[in-house]
């Protein structure tokens, strides 16, 4: 393993990148699911019955976490690039990301 992989910036960038890929894959499916409402509320409801499956709930939680991750790490990039943020306080940002992920976690658990 190259030393650079242990650097925090690399870890942040990889999480950002992988969560982005996950979201890009998820979104078309999300749009298709929503569009079942074209056939009325019942159609959407019966589709949503799927989401009470534990496996599906777990995946939904993953996607919410991916979204929160991608958002917070994206904010880090925007802060460094546009607001000349000097990243000695990466620790603070990681804490932020962790907080958001935790929130996503706790609230997403209310899905059931």
């Amino acid at each position: 393993m190259r030393a650079s992989h242990k650097q925090r910036g690399f870890v942040a960038a990889m999480l950002h990148r992988l969560s982005g890929i996950a979201l890009a894959v998820f979104l078309p499916l999300h749009f298709l699911a929503l569009a079942t409402a074209l056939n009325g509320a019942n159609a959407l409801d019966s589709f949503l019955a799927l989401t009470r499956e534990p496996l599906v709930q777990a995946l939904e939680w993953c996607i919410v976490v991916a979204l929160a991750l991608h958002l917070t790490l994206g904010l880090r990039v925007l802060a460094v690039e546009f607001f000349d943020f000097r990243e000695k306080t990466l620790a603070a940002l990681s804490a932020c990301a962790a907080a958001v992920v935790a929130i996503g976690l706790v609230l997403a658990l209310n899905l059931s």
């Binding site: 393993m1 190259r2 030393a3 650079s4 650097q7 925090r8 910036g9 690399f10 942040a12 960038a13 990148r17 880090r76 990039v77 460094v80 690039e81 546009f82 000349d84 000097r86 990243e87």
Partner: protein
């Protein structure tokens, strides 16, 4: 502290293998001391670079236990504890010439490609330029001008590893110092030279360059500066 130091040194070029050596361990050894001792006492066919040996020239940069650093400024005790082995490799992202020496041409070609040179313009000033050192531009330039082109940042950069055409942190850092040079007359061409798929936009803020630079320069922030200038210019022309 153990009496002996076990060292694995890369031999060959792109294809090659590690050769093991055993040396006496001394208290204040630097990695450059180790390499020199190997070449003088053990295997005179070993190729490596150094010049000043006091942390001024950057010639001795190589990868030490996975991290790119200056060997003259790296104490063995910093990187090896107990019976750990010392592992020496040539800089990453460069073509290996032989053993620990790499081909630097592409690195400096990219400096030129990024317009990392001063452009006086067709009608240079006749008198001295007055540039107060505390101005924002001069401070931004001063933060990056100490670069001596050692290649450590370039070796550490993941984007260079993924895309050999990426201009790289050193070239872009130099471009930024010149973007902030109020005497320079080549800004338009320079900005064009750094704003393409292989220019500042390819930086993903991993910050390896900033973490490893032995002169505490922060190419990440220089590149961020270039991105901001680019962005403002694009919005203005829209």
């Amino acid at each position: 502290m153990s009496d002996v130091l076990a060292v694995d040194v890369w031999r060959g070029a792109e294809n090659g293998q590690f050769q093991a050596f055993t040396l006496p361990r001394r208290q204040h050894q630097t990695v450059l001391d180790v390499v020199t001792e190997i070449q003088r006492e053990h295997d005179s066919t070993l190729s490596y670079r150094f010049a000043c040996r006091v942390g001024m020239c950057g010639s001795c940069a190589m990868v030490v236990n996975g991290r790119p650093r200056w060997t003259c400024r790296t104490r063995v005790n910093e990187v090896v504890s107990g019976d750990e082995r010392l592992r020496l490799e040539p800089l990453r992202n460069f073509t290996v010439v032989k053993d620990l020496a790499v081909e630097m041409t592409q690195f400096f070609d990219k400096w030129k490609a990024a317009h990392g040179f001063f452009e006086p313009g067709t009608a240079p000033e006749q008198d001295f330029a007055v540039v107060p050192p505390q101005t924002k531009e001069r401070q931004a330039a001063d933060a990056g001008i100490e670069c001596i082109g050692c290649g450590v940042c370039y070796s550490a950069c993941d984007v260079v590893a993924w895309d050999r055409d990426y201009l790289g942190p050193a070239a872009l850092n130099r471009a930024w110092t010149l973007v902030n040079d109020v005497r320079d007359r080549g800004q338009a061409e320079r900005l064009k030279a750094v704003s393409h798929d292989n220019g500042c936009q390819a930086c993903h803020t991993h910050m390896n360059c900033t973490n490893f630079c032995p002169k505490a320069i922060a190419p990440t922030y220089a590149i961020a500066g270039l991105k901001r200038v680019l962005f403002r210019r694009a919005l203005r022309s829209a």
